[in-house]
């Protein structure tokens, strides 16, 4: 039987002291699957990514989130990450004065330590990073800059994918990884995702556009509206949405 990576049941969540954003969301991702979540602005897509990854500003009011047999709600953000849940940020943060390579190694070693594995010394780690850079057609000097500081939009997104490739998570949540990318950068990012995915892990892509799905073909497409998944289908659902817009929701749901 295929391993279940993520199982979200009847999830309700809100900003602390704020209105309810997720209103009974169900989602199951099994090993080897690629899911895409689409939906109008304000439907709760980014909220879902933040809740899964443990952003401190959001609160789960009911329902459950099970990740590899663990209750996510009981884990701190860094524990979720170390267990293999990776969020590629829509707007990656800039951290001044922190060397990109040193940060990557720190993140990598946090995970190694968490699992009781040996930490990588700088030389071994360099080899690991070099092999991943190639996949993304990134240059070496990228590593010596400060973390996301002064990076272009495309560079920031590539850096997210680089981190993903190095950390080898079990589930990646890609929050609008395709926004603000030119064609070359989009291809590089898609290359990275395709290099990452295998039969043992899962991908959840949050996107507004079909174009990423041309390169990374989803097994399932879900439409999120007003905090719930209202429609699911195969890859062709995304094409239909692209053509007709979210108006089809009304037609299909009525």
């Amino acid at each position: 039987m295929t391993e279940t990576i993520l199982e979200v049941k009847n999830l309700e969540a809100n900003l602390e002291d704020g209105d309810k954003i997720l209103k009974g969301l169900n989602l199951t991702i099994k090993a080897g699957e690629v899911h895409a979540i689409m939906g109008p602005n304000g439907s709760g897509k980014s909220t879902l990514s933040k809740i899964l990854s443990g952003h401190p500003a959001y609160k789960v009011s009911s329902g459950s989130m099970n990740f590899l047999g663990r209750d996510l709600n009981e884990l701190e953000a860094n524990e979720r990450a170390n267990l293999g849940l990776f969020l590629a940020f829509q707007y990656p943060l800039e951290i001044a004065g922190v060397n990109n390579l040193e940060f990557l190694r720190m993140a990598y070693n946090s995970k190694q330590k968490y699992h009781g594995l040996e930490e990588a010394d700088p030389l071994d780690f360099d080899d690991l990073v070099e092999s991943k850079l190639e996949i993304l057609s990134m240059k070496n000097d990228f590593l010596n800059r400060n973390l996301n500081e002064g990076f272009s939009g495309g560079e920031k997104k590539k850096n997210e994918i680089l981190q993903m490739l190095i950390l080898e998570p079990k589930l990646v949540v890609l929050d609008e990884i395709d926004s603000g990318l030119d064609i070359d950068a989009l291809k590089a990012v898609a290359n990275g995702i395709n290099a990452y995915k295998n039969t043992g892990n899962g991908v959840l892509m949050i996107t507004h556009y079909q174009r990423l799905l041309d390169y990374v073909v989803p097994d399932q497409v879900h439409v999120l509206s007003e905090g719930r998944i209202v429609l699911s289908g195969k890859a062709d659902l995304a094409l239909e949405l692209e053509k007709k817009g979210y108006d089809i929701l009304n037609a299909k749901l009525s």
């Binding site: 900003l15 602390e16 002291d17 990854s53 443990g54 952003h55 401190p56 500003a57 701190e76 953000a77 860094n78 979720r80 990450a81 170390n82 990776f86 969020l87 940020f89 990656p92 943060l93 951290i95 001044a96 004065g97 922190v98 940060f103 720190m106 993140a107 946090s110 995970k111 968490y114 400060n146 973390l147 981190q163 950390l167």
Partner: protein, 482 residues
Amino acid sequence: METKSSSILENLNSQEYKYGFTTELETDSFPKGLSEEVINRISRIKNEPEFMLEFRLKAYKAFLKMTEPEWALLNYPKIDLQDVIYYSAPKKKIGKNSLEEVDPEILKTYEKLGIPIGEQKRLEGIAVDAIFDSVSVANTHKKALAEIGIIFCSISEAIQEHPELIKKYIGSVVPHTDNYFTALNSAVFSDGTFIYIPPNTKCPLELSTNFRINTKGSGQFERTLIICDDNSYVSYLEGCTAPAFDENQLHAAVVELVTLDNSEIKYSTVQNWYAGDENGKGGIYNFVTKRGKCAGKNSKISWTQVETGSAITWKYPSCILLGDNSIGEFYSVALTNNMQQADTGTKMIHIGKNTKSTIISKGISAGKSSNTYRGLVKMGERAKGARNYTQCDSMLIGSHCRASTVPYIEVEGDSNRVEHEASTSKISEEQLFYLQQRGISLESAIALIISGFCKDVFKELPGEFAAEANQLMSLKLENSVG
């Protein structure tokens, strides 16, 4: 909105101050109080030549006419100078020639502080002068340095043995009339470090002084004088600690640096005086005047300071750029937490032609503390082609602290150039979440952001001290919630 990480940012407490212990020693201490008689006694105890006593008494006369400066953004009750002990020294004989003569209790104290005063530490390339309350108690490597003409000793000793150098240079950079605290220091200073680097000599060791205040109620008034002769170089590092007492203690030091032609002094400070408790009780009042004079052409003075301790910090290490093409640098990290207050910065006085100065100041405020950068860049008519670059960055942690920047820029002549950049930032929850989402713990995430913020300054610290400084910052901002 109060979330877990925001409440953590409000409550970053200093780890318990680990240098807060006291050493039980018999001391020779004067009774509290300041008078001409006290000054006479200090001079007599030190067996000083006549010129030194005259210097002190002149300063005292000037001091009596001066008042405590009030322009700094600092709030504290007036200091009662009659309530201070002006001289306190361990009773046992002071080992000037060999470490075996040093009171074992004092050696133990330095061991606890992690200060290498044993000769075996020579391998690390550091020579140390240890100042305990009012006197120098140990000085390592003196002989080896003397063989190449370098004088590294306590200032009391230098007054005895090198009066010509003292006469020529003491007060030549910081006149006793400079301010209230320099006048006081000039009258009552009890010890400090003296360094002379002869021409054409690169000092092979890192020279260092450790200042320790031990006795309750005593003030520390040290005087440091460093002269770097033609074509020479020295790197000097000072560290400061004190026991945790409920009462405030005064530290009023004067440091003077002189560089002659083509020479360079690199002066680094890691200040970790007792800061008081989280409610602002106790702690050192740190009123310090540090100034360097680039007297020679092509000479350079570089100040690097990491200020993490003291209840009050009032300190402006400055450079007088007199020689043509001389260079002044000021790299500073000032961290305040709880009720600490710091008003610190620099003065770059450009007099010579083509003089250059760089100021990089990083202020970090947490808790309910207040942190002010105050700096002057002054370029006279004669200073043709002078240039300055200033960058002042403040970081706020939590929402009850305060950061201020007060730059003064005075430029005459049209060939001079001044650049000033300033920024204020907060550690954001989003940044912390980003790092945590990569598996990094909240505490490590805060430390990483702070270390990135301070990088441009820490990289100026000699050798292993950069790593130590990073560690010190983490200890000062520990999360007391999680």
